[in-house]
């Protein structure tokens, strides 16, 4: 069971309080009617499914109810950071550097 930091509550809590919300930073197009079928498919279905640091959404469903974003390494399941919805993508290089410093075997 993962431990997840809710950036709104500023608390680290067990996964049972949260629901996963899929890949982050996939904005719904502003004017859907103008979009092609390909573009709409991309919005609906195409995911990076990255093996490594993954930008993703969680909802603190059994807490404050807020959606927020996270960067989690899908190989180790380790969270690199969480941040509020609407905030820009954090710099991955900085996150990885911080994570390396915190690696237990170091």
């Amino acid at each position: 069971m993962l431990l997840i930091h809710c950036p709104y509550c500023d608390e680290t809590l067990p996964e049972l309080e949260f629901t996963y919300g899929g890949e982050a930073h996939i904005a719904r197009p502003e004017n859907p009617a103008d979009k092609t079928d390909d573009e709409w498919r991309d919005f609906l279905f195409i995911r990076t499914n990255v093996k490594g640091p993954h930008f993703e959404r969680w909802r603190h469903a059994h807490g404050c109810g807020r959606f927020f974003n996270a960067v989690r390494d899908t190989v180790s399941d380790r969270f690199l950071t969480t941040y509020k919805a609407g905030e820009p993508r954090p710099d991955l290089a900085v996150l990885l550097e911080d994570a390396a410093k915190k690696e237990p075997s170091k």
Partner: protein
């Protein structure tokens, strides 16, 4: 290579088992193949086997980042059935069952396909409606599936608790008698042996780092840890890792990879005659030929390649099993493990052509890939050989996510497994 038979077994028994040969050689890559298959699971090895056997294409390499059969082929709960709702799915999975029935003889490798029957439990009115829809559809498609009352279900599977007072009482069941299980590792090994006998190279521990495309956009080959391998046709059959491999060819996939857990109990004498599935409480169970209860769980909620999976899900799965089969409460869990399943938005696979000339794909099986192994491999080989879709795999295009022509077993059945 030695033909396997009772006689060859006896002969070798008398000579101290010293004369068996390798079932497949561990090959080093050549510079060029007609077809390169990425991923040496049952699906990839099977496609190579059928390319060689049925299409005479033997200059084929199957490349894996690890050991053959080390992915989902060797990590699943081995359920085989074909009582799917939609015509497209029923045809694909029933084609697979047709092949399963003769697979041991075809491969000269006993994959122990056991037609012990798969019982799917209905727990509420919605389940009954859904199962009846399946049964009627299956009947008209020529697919075996029938309705059992709770009493009939218990007669078929005596450990079943059919008390009407259960939290999720059993109100009936759908039974596919032709369905069952098979020995998962033997499928990979049997295909590997059959393919290599026919000249296919199996290259293990050789990660494919990229698919290379030429100026015309067509596939030129694959970059690997052991260098570039030229091939005009590349088929990707890499399960949970498909997104990563396809991305290198510039094809973005509608896939997400989730952890899926399974477990076995300590072995006991035969007590459980069939396979039982309950989508409502999320549990799947059969008994292996070693005597272990083999139990499948659902996927964790988040995407992951970690093959770990959480404790809460396993607790729920075991609780579900003990709810339906209370006599197993004192049995013990022997081991649990995780796999990575690649899931499409409609829970149906993507099988066949891609927008890239020369690039083929077989992925998106979610939790249902093992049962389809021979069918998927057989039709993919056809498509790779001929460069056109096979009747059976034609509906399972990548394009359906653009047009909306989904084959949504999940939506239709609540959950597809």
């Amino acid at each position: 290579m030695t033909h396997f038979s009772a006689l060859s077994l006896l002969k070798n028994a008398l000579t101290g088992q010293k004369n068996w040969q390798a079932q497949w050689p561990d090959s080093q890559p050549k510079a060029e193949y007609d077809v390169v298959i990425v991923g040496a699971g049952g699906h990839g090895l099977g496609a190579a086997y059928y390319l060689a056997k049925e299409h005479g294409i033997t200059n084929v390499a199957v490349i894996d980042k690890g050991w053959l059969g080390g992915g989902n082929t060797g990590r699943n709960t081995t359920i085989i059935r074909s009582n799917y709702l939609y015509d497209e799915s029923a045809r694909l999975y029933d084609h697979a069952v047709d092949l399963w029935e003769g697979l041991s003889q075809d491969l000269n490798y006993n994959v122990m396909f056991s037609r012990r029957g798969v019982l799917m439990l209905a727990h509420n009115v919605h389940d009954v409606q859904s199962f009846q829809r399946h049964i009627h559809s299956n009947r008209l498609n020529g697919v075996d599936n029938r309705w059992l009352t709770p009493e009939e279900a218990k007669e078929f599977c005596p450990p079943l608790n059919i008390s009407p007072n259960a939290r999720y009482p059993v109100v009936g069941a759908a039974l596919q008698m032709r369905a069952g299980t098979a020995r998962h590792d033997a499928v990979a090994w049997g295909y590997a042996r059959g393919a290599s006998q026919r000249g296919v190279d199996i290259i293990q521990n050789c990660p494919v780092t990229a698919i290379r495309r030429g100026p015309d956009g067509a596939v030129e080959g694959v970059e690997t840890a052991k260098g570039f391998i030229r091939a005009k046709k590349v088929a990707v059959s890499a399960a949970g890792h498909t997104s990563v491999v396809m991305e290198t060819a510039g094809v973005r996939m509608p896939l997400e990879s989730y952890p899926l857990q399974a477990l076995v109990s300590e072995p006991v004498k035969p007590i459980f005659p069939c396979v039982v599935m309950s989508n409502t409480v999320h549990a799947y169970i059969s008994q292996s030929d070693k005597g272990e209860l083999v139990i499948g769980s659902g996927t964790d909620q988040y995407t992951s390649y970690s093959q770990r999976g959480g404790l809460p899900l396993i607790e729920h799965t075991v609780a579900a099993i003990c709810e339906i089969f209370p006599i197993f409460n004192r049995m013990r869990m022997l081991r649990k493990w995780g796999g990575i399943v690649d899931v499409t938005p409609d829970r149906s696979p993507i099988l066949g052509m891609t927008p890239v000339p020369g690039l083929y794909v077989n992925c998106g099986w979610g939790t249902g890939g093992f049962k389809a192994t021979p069918g998927a491999a057989h039709t993919l080989a056809w498509t790779v050989a001929k460069g056109t879709p096979h009747d059976i795999n034609a509906p399972f295009t990548l394009d359906r996510f653009r047009t909306g022509r989904l084959i949504d077993e999940a939506a239709a059945a609540a959950v597809a497994h």
